[in-house]
Subunit: 328 residues, 2 copies
Amino acid sequence: MDRNLRAMAASAGERGLALRPHAKTHKTVEIARRQIELGAAGLTVATVREAEIFADGGAGDIFIAYPVWPSPERARRLRALSERIALRVGIDSVESADALTRAVGPLDVLVEVDSGHHRSGVQPDGAAALTEAAAKAGHRVRGIFTFPGHGYGPGLREQAASDEARALVDADPHAEVRSGGSTPTAGLAGIGPLNEIRPGVYVFNDAQQVELGTCDFDAVALTVAATVVSRTGNRAIVDAGSKILGADRLAWATGFGRLPDFPSARVVALSEHHATIEFADAVPARGDVLRVAPNHVCATVNLADDLVVVSEGREVDRWRVAARGANT
Amino acid sequence: MDRNLRAMAASAGERGLALRPHAKTHKTVEIARRQIELGAAGLTVATVREAEIFADGGAGDIFIAYPVWPSPERARRLRALSERIALRVGIDSVESADALTRAVGPLDVLVEVDSGHHRSGVQPDGAAALTEAAAKAGHRVRGIFTFPGHGYGPGLREQAASDEARALVDADPHAEVRSGGSTPTAGLAGIGPLNEIRPGVYVFNDAQQVELGTCDFDAVALTVAATVVSRTGNRAIVDAGSKILGADRLAWATGFGRLPDFPSARVVALSEHHATIEFADAVPARGDVLRVAPNHVCATVNLADDLVVVSEGREVDRWRVAARGANT
């Protein structure tokens, strides 16, 4: 993990990019502090509750990269946050810009642009109009942002990085903040026009990143310890299921996770407390403890109360997942 | 929920079946108490930690329907549990029977039989030998159990119920306890040879049960409240993603959940904090709050700290999900 944190900080620094890591991956104050010590410009989060928890943990500059809708209760919390830290909020419509002004007041906002993931965000040619409307509504428009989530597929990340850069250039090449960068695209040259990246998963990496080719097993820094409870033929059943690994499985994944110590093994089935693993060679014995890298580490961390911190093979600490379940 | 609890209790009672609900679905002491008040013979759980939490909550008879491997720490906890409640534990191998005797001592055990789900469990013709070995290892073999998980597919539940019954009859028609019964199969006539059922999901139901035809939307008793944060064309984006709905999606599911108030809507994409919903008719407005039934309610409950209890449209209580994250 320390190696991953240092490598991304160095890579962003060498390219003159602000690094604003997405804390939804680790949800852990101790890791956020390390990211900031290594030079992160601030944090990214997905929810108001995450922002509150990391502000409590000492972060002074947080971007909620989400088109937050200010329900009355959330508006009150957003206002309180904006008074104690440097806060940025995503918007993707005139309605949300106006609703934020009415319910919270003027904020620092970034306009979300759709670069091909087709989730939230305006099309690039709509960014100028929304920027103008948001300014008219009283907000300080600090720039534009996008998430190239369509880079989560084999062989797609170069194209996604290029789409990401083009969308931001098309939206506003002179924006003060031009923010993008998923873990698969954050290291690619194609994102040249950006000046800020927001990768999250790079802290730990996971089976998806290995299968996408973003990293190798040596860079996977979080695994689930699973005990073999049953065996049949070339299969072992371990006691880690979807309630700790998460059920995430993109269409191209080889299974429901990977085993760094058994690269040819495949997790062929998953239920709540069982993972069925097929081995090419000898099947581990009942009672053996195996390391399983989840497909999507953000989901796994959100299912854990604590992370066991291991250094040189020994448990050295436990960190609370302070923002676990911080959905609101 | 009250209707679902009463209906299953009545159905089991009419057929002379012991009802031992699987508490992994609700993970909530208040609901376990209602199940027991309505005549449940005891509870089923998946982990030692779940058993501890429900024992703390007053349950006196608990079956861990899982081939528990007694690591030293878990063995100590199993022994403590067996001294304070009526405890039953699943086994599916001579190795685990012997390991339990060595690490914990004699226990009440049930032999797990594979009825077609092909996860854990011995084949039916192997049950007699394991029963004999477990008795020789000092355990009190109380019976046999199976989980017909292969009934989770459209048109498969009648066959799964029949497989379930045949596997238990083939394993031991005279066993004191012949336990089966998932929610899709629990109500079917095919399970005649069983004398105990262990459904879990029936408490709340979910989108999977609706799409399987086990229940209709009126019987879905748990939904996630999600706010529309973005819109485009015939789609709305709501702020409930995999971190509260869970990422479960079986191949035949129409999407990542269903909307009871919009039966023709489909949840076509899911990320951590976004669900993309396609509407056939008018798209709800930004700020509207929609009810989303998750695909797999067990996963959703395990992502929540509390359940908001609603009666006649009003919040009347909050129940803590006491066994959330109780994986060990």
